[in-house]
Symmetry: C2
Subunit: 273 residues, 2 copies
Amino acid sequence: MTRASARNVPEVTPLWLKLSSYLILKDEEKDYLSDLEKNIVRQTARTDLLQQGEKYRDVRVMREGWAIRHKALPDGRRQVVNFVLPGDIIGMYSTLFESADHSVTTLTAVEVACFPPERIVELFQSFPRLAAALAWSGAREEAIVAERLLSLGRRTALERTAHLIVELLRRLSTVNLVENGHFTLPVTQEILADALGLSIVHINRTLRRLRDSGLIELNGQRITVNDVRQLASVGQFDELYLHLIRAPKRLERAFSGDRRARSGDDKVEGRKM
Amino acid sequence: MTRASARNVPEVTPLWLKLSSYLILKDEEKDYLSDLEKNIVRQTARTDLLQQGEKYRDVRVMREGWAIRHKALPDGRRQVVNFVLPGDIIGMYSTLFESADHSVTTLTAVEVACFPPERIVELFQSFPRLAAALAWSGAREEAIVAERLLSLGRRTALERTAHLIVELLRRLSTVNLVENGHFTLPVTQEILADALGLSIVHINRTLRRLRDSGLIELNGQRITVNDVRQLASVGQFDELYLHLIRAPKRLERAFSGDRRARSGDDKVEGRKM
DNA sequence: TATGCCCTTTAACCTATGTTGTAGCCCCAC
DNA sequence: GTGGGGCTACAACATAGGTTAAAGGGCATA
């Protein structure tokens, strides 16, 4: 609760880091972000941060720990939509949407910052660069969900599983949570099954195949990827969708007014299939 | 090309309508939107508006017609991520992302407006309310993709198909493209299959079951839904995720400075599972 | 009127994945 | 330590959905 520091030395948080890959943050922007995160709350594992169907509450920023975003059918079948990692925002659109169409549940103990949804509006009004960076990071999240859709629709169980492992590896390594090819996966096989649209038994079979082929090792929650390249090739993994190549400078330039002609006569393209 | 009208009488476009459900647009915002859409281009059916892997080009606004957003694996397997309908934006994040992780292909002849990506940055700087409305409509699109993920992961072929038909019915009726329960579906069974993660043969079987049970009728591209309630119940359709209940007034209020206390002492919640 | 292409339809067969059931392990509570 | 709950593991069997193949309809072009 007292961890947020005074304005003169803003703390570097995961959100801060994430937005930095889109923008070179100005001092007042850093101050604003650190102010947003000043109300810090801890929650234990297996707690709902948001429940499908309820009215939206505060906006939350994940600072530490893992959670899942998931949706359920009335009869209990469940789909994990995405993993929520440090720096991710929960319920950013609370101001506008009536009620939540998904739940968010912690997998580990977590530390989140809470603030009222009105502050997002404030942010759009007063910090357009931050607003753009947030909107962009939201778009990146959508890209991840779309890629998972491709997995569920068109990849086999083995491919899907390999793909997810590589995805998590890549996402976690951008926040320095991977060391020597191994990382902590605080996830039961049931959750993996729900993320990949498989049964728990089949996820078990599939992990076994991956272990037998020597591509990965599993010890409790520790997963070791022995051969990323080959695992990526099994999963037909193409990291384009993670949009890891970011261009803070390009956005900087755009924001500093170096704008091209606003003429309406852009070239016309579009080619036949 | 000459259809965009002069500033004094801005044309009501689908984008305009869509944003109006989030905001009560001011005159200068209407003018700006109409200026954005002044460069209008037509394309025939089966043309790519964007190709996976290529550098992003212009931002486009769909004004008329249908398209699909889809992703493909190297071996040709393909997944349709979403249907692009009038008012939707294509490539909104061109400024930041290096290259496209999906393709967009027209299904019918379309009319789109094109503008350079820099204008999105301009919009964030000068029209924060429009920026917020756009960001929110992007979030709604993500919600649709997440719901489709639930379908592919956890619904049976019959449920998925019923669900998609009801979804399209609801989305199209908000833009007055449904009449008496029937609408035009400019889509081959192959595309349906790619949207639902099924084989073309199985989509055919499934449509047959829906027709045999009397829930729908198909004549060419005309689909008639005879019993929406029952179809919705087959598909376990809950329209929460479409976020059709919008609250322009709530957003208006937030933007006009009627903001609550910014104190940091929001209630702490979170309940055990 | 004929030709061909694209799309739909159906049948027969196949396989990836789901289901059910049982067992063992580990860890925590008592 | 003992019991129980949650998780992993794996075998045996069931089935939804995939694959292959072939025929037929509609529509444009010649």
